[in-house]
C-alpha cells in the first residue's frame, strides 16, 4: 500500500526538520513548504493526503492558504491541521470556519497530533467498514 503523504508548512526550518523526522518515523512521506505561496504550489504539485499548516507565514499567511485550498476544485478535499503558536481563543474558530480539520496550539503533544493526523487522513477502502 502506498504511504500517505503529508505537506508540512512552517517558516521555522528547525521545526520543519523535527516534524519531518517525527512523521517519517511514523511511516508518512513528507513534503515541506516555508511560506504561503510555496505551500499552494507544493500542494498542487505534490497532491498531499494531508497538510500541517502554520498560521504566521510570509508570502500569504495560513488563512490565505486555507482560503486558496478551499477555493480550489482539486485541493479542497485535502484535510488541513493547523499547528500554530497563536492563541486559539482568537484563531481556532476562524481557522475551523475557514476549513481546517483541527487546531493545535504549539507546542502540541506528539501523540495527540499523530492521532488526529490518523483520523483526519482519508480512510483507505479496506478499513472503511471499521466500526466507529
Amino acid at each position: 500500500m502506498p504511504r500517505n503523504k503529508i505537506l508540512v508548512v512552517d517558516d521555522d526550518p528547525d521545526l520543519v526538520r523535527a516534524l519531518r523526522l517525527r512523521l517519517r518515523a511514523n511511516d508518512y512521506d513528507i513534503a515541506t513548504a516555508c511560506d504561503g505561496y510555496s505551500a499552494i504550489a507544493s500542494a498542487q504539485k505534490e497532491r498531499p493526503d494531508l497538510i500541517v499548516l502554520d498560521l504566521g507565514l510570509p508570502a500569504g499567511d495560513g488563512f490565505v492558504v486555507l482560503d486558496r485550498l478551499q477555493n480550489s476544485d482539486v485541493l479542497s478535499g485535502i484535510p488541513v491541521i493547523v499547528l500554530s503558536a497563536r492563541d486559539p481563543q482568537n484563531n481556532e474558530q476562524r481557522a475551523l470556519k475557514a476549513g481546517a480539520a483541527a487546531y493545535f496550539q504549539k507546542p502540541a503533544d506528539n501523540e495527540e497530533l499523530l492521532s488526529v493526523i490518523r483520523v483526519s487522513l482519508p480512510q483507505p477502502k479496506a478499513e472503511a467498514a471499521r466500526p466507529s
Binding site: 521545526l15 517525527r22 518515523a25 483541527a102 487546531y103 507546542p107
Partner: protein, 540 residues
C-alpha cells in the same frame, strides 16, 4: 434642531432659588441653554430625553433626599458633570457628594454669576480630564494585554522547537539513548512543560483580568470530571509516592457547569496539593452536598501537606501571590493558578476558600451550582398556581454525516440550540441545556406545555427552521421527534412544588433513556486517557 450652547439641566424645587440661578445663568458668557425640573423624577425624565452637558442639582427634592439624589442622577447620566447646590447648613453632605464623584458644590446664599460660571466651566473641564484618564487607563490595559499575548506567542515558537527535539531524542528517533542521557532529557522535558504551563497561565490571567474568560455550562456529572482530573494527575503524584483518593457522596445531583473549566480548576488544585505535600503523603478529592446550601455541590481537595498560615490564607487567591516557603521551589509557578481558579469559580456563581491549620494539611473547597430541572421547569409548567394540563417533549438529534465529521460542530450545535430557542414560547416551553461532554453528536430536548396533537406543529416549525441553518445541511443529519409525557396523577395534598418535581423526574427518565448510555453525563473513560494540556478540537 442642533444647538451649540452648553446645555445645563437645573434640578431645584425651591422656585425662588431656581429663579436666582437662572438669572445668573442668563448673564453667563458664553451663553448657556437651561432646562429646568423641580422634582428628581422630572429631572431623570429630562435626562432620558436629552443628555445635558452639566447638571446643577439641589440634593433635597420633594421626591428624593440627600445622597440618594446625586446617586440616581450619576447613574442615569454617567460621565455628565454634576454640581451640587447646597444650603448653608448642609455643606457636609455636599462635601460627601464631592467625595463620591460630584464635581463641585456651590452654597446657594453666596452665588454670583462669575462664581457660578467658573464652577461650571471647571466642572466640565475636570469631567473631561477624568474621561481621558479613564480612556488612557483602558488603553494601557489593552496595550498590556496585547503585549502579553504577543510575548506568549513569541515564547511558544522556540519552546516548540525545544519540545520537538527533546522528544525526538527521547523517543530514540535520532539514535539510541543511554539511560543516563534519557534521564537528563526527561528533566529538560519537564522544564519545557513547566514553561509551557506558565505561558498558558499568563494568558488565562490576562483574560480573567480583562473579563474575557468565557464559560459554556452544560448539565454534567461531577464524578466524571473528578475521575478524569485524578487520572490525569496520578502520574505526577506517583513521582512523590502520593496517593490520590476519591470520595464521592452517593447522592450528588448533576451540576450545571463548563466541563473543561471544572477540569481546569480540579487539575490546578490537585497539582497545587501535590506541590505542597511531602513524599508518601495523601490527597483526597471529594464531592458532597451540604444541607444548608442545597443548590450547590461542594468539591474539596485535601492534602497532608504542611498547611497554610492564617496570614497567608487571606492572600493566597490574589494574583501573583507566591508562597515564600514553597518546599518544592523547582515547581513554583507564576502565582496565577489559584487566581485563575477563583475567577473561574466566580463565573459559575460559586465560591472558593481554603481551610487549614499549620502542620495539619489544607483543604481547598469550591462550590458549583446543581442542575435542577424542577427549578428550570417551574415557571414554564405552572400557570395561576397549578400545573398546566398537558406536556410533550420534542427531541432533536444532530448526527455528523461523515467520520471525521465535516464543519465546525461546536458552532453548528450552538446555532442549533439558538434556533430551537427561537421556535418556542418562552413562558410555556423550555429548551433544556445541553448534557454531558460536548461532542459532534448532540441531542437536544424541548419541554412543551402542550398535548401531543399540538406539539406536532411545533416539531414541524422546529424542523423547518433548522433546515434553514446552512451549516447544518452540510455537516449533519437531523431528526426531530415528539415524545409524550404522561405525568403521574397528583396525590391528594401534594404541593405544586412536589407536582413539578414529579414531572421533572418523569422528564429526566425519558431524557436519560433517549440519550443512551454512551452520551449520559456520567463516567466516560475515553476522556480520562488524554493527559496533555494541548487539547485539539477536531472539526467533528
Amino acid at each position: 434642531m442642533s444647538d451649540s450652547r452648553t446645555h445645563v439641566l437645573l434640578i431645584e424645587d425651591n422656585p425662588g432659588d431656581a429663579d436666582l440661578v437662572r438669572l445668573r445663568l442668563v448673564e453667563s458668557r458664553p451663553a448657556v441653554r437651561v432646562d429646568y425640573a423641580s422634582r428628581l423624577s422630572d429631572g431623570l425624565a429630562a435626562i432620558a430625553k436629552e443628555m445635558p452637558s452639566l447638571v446643577l442639582l439641589d440634593l433635597n427634592l420633594p421626591d428624593s433626599h440627600g445622597a440618594e439624589t446625586f446617586r440616581k442622577i450619576m447613574e442615569k447620566a454617567p460621565g455628565v458633570p454634576v454640581v451640587v447646590l447646597s444650603g448653608q447648613d448642609d455643606e457636609a453632605l455636599a462635601m460627601k457628594a464631592v467625595n463620591q464623584g460630584v464635581q463641585d458644590y456651590l452654597v446657594k446664599g453666596d452665588l454670583s454669576s462669575k462664581h457660578l460660571e467658573r464652577a461650571m466651566r471647571y466642572a466640565v473641564e475636570r469631567q473631561s480630564l477624568l474621561r481621558s484618564l479613564d480612556m488612557a487607563r483602558k488603553q494601557q490595559i489593552e496595550f498590556k494585554n496585547q503585549f502579553l499575548s504577543h510575548v506568549s506567542h513569541e515564547l511558544r515558537t522556540p519552546l516548540t522547537c525545544i519540545h520537538q527535539y527533546v522528544t525526538l531524542l527521547l523517543d530514540g528517533l535520532a539514535g539510541p539513548v543511554q539511560p543516563e542521557q534519557a534521564d537528563h532529557l526527561k528533566t529538560v522535558l519537564k522544564s519545557v512543560n513547566q514553561l509551557h504551563a506558565m505561558i498558558r497561565d499568563l494568558l488565562e490571567a490576562t483574560r480573567a483580568e480583562s473579563g474575557k474568560l468565557r464559560i459554556e455550562p452544560r448539565c454534567i456529572a461531577v464524578g466524571t470530571l473528578i475521575q478524569q482530573a485524578v487520572a490525569m494527575m496520578r502520574p505526577t503524584a506517583q513521582e512523590k509516592r502520593i496517593g490520590i483518593e476519591i470520595g464521592l457522596d452517593r447522592r450528588i445531583p448533576l451540576i450545571f457547569a463548563d466541563p473543561d473549566r471544572v477540569l481546569e480548576i480540579l487539575i490546578n488544585l490537585i497539582d497545587n496539593a501535590i506541590k505542597f505535600t511531602p513524599v508518601d503523603g495523601a490527597i483526597t478529592v471529594k464531592a458532597c452536598m451540604v444541607e444548608s446550601d442545597p443548590e450547590m455541590v461542594y468539591l474539596s481537595i485535601t492534602d497532608t501537606g504542611r498547611g497554610i498560615n492564617p496570614e497567608t490564607k487571606a492572600m493566597i487567591f490574589e494574583r501573583l501571590y507566591q508562597d515564600p516557603e514553597a518546599i518544592d521551589s523547582s515547581r513554583s509557578g507564576l502565582g496565577l493558578g489559584l487566581f485563575i481558579c477563583r475567577e473561574l469559580v466566580k463565573l459559575h456563581q460559586g465560591r472558593i476558600w481554603v481551610s487549614s491549620d499549620p502542620g495539619q494539611g489544607s483543604t481547598f473547597t469550591f462550590t458549583l451550582p446543581t442542575y435542577s430541572l424542577a427549578k428550570l421547569l417551574f415557571p414554564v409548567v405552572t400557570h395561576q398556581a397549578s400545573l398546566r394540563p398537558a406536556f410533550s417533549l420534542v427531541q432533536v438529534e444532530l448526527t455528523p454525516l461523515s467520520n471525521p465529521p465535516r464543519g465546525n460542530w461546536r458552532e453548528t450545535w450552538q446555532e442549533c440550540l439558538e434556533t430551537l430557542r427561537r421556535c418556542v414560547y418562552l413562558d410555556k416551553d423550555l429548551v433544556l441545556p445541553p448534557m454531558g461532554m460536548a461532542g459532534p453528536a448532540e441531542t437536544f430536548f424541548v419541554v412543551a406545555s402542550t398535548d401531543m396533537e399540538r406539539v406536532g406543529v411545533m416539531a414541524m416549525r422546529i424542523r423547518e427552521q433548522l433546515e434553514r441553518v446552512a451549516s447544518l445541511k452540510s455537516a449533519g443529519k437531523l431528526s426531530v421527534m415528539t415524545v409524550p409525557i404522561i405525568p403521574t396523577a397528583a396525590a391528594p395534598g401534594e404541593t405544586l412544588e412536589q407536582q413539578v418535581q414529579h414531572l421533572a423526574d418523569r422528564i429526566n427518565e425519558i431524557v436519560i433513556r433517549a440519550l443512551g448510555k454512551e452520551n449520559l453525563p456520567v463516567a466516560n473513560s475515553a476522556h480520562a486517557a488524554s493527559g496533555s494540556s494541548t487539547k485539539p478540537v477536531l472539526k467533528h
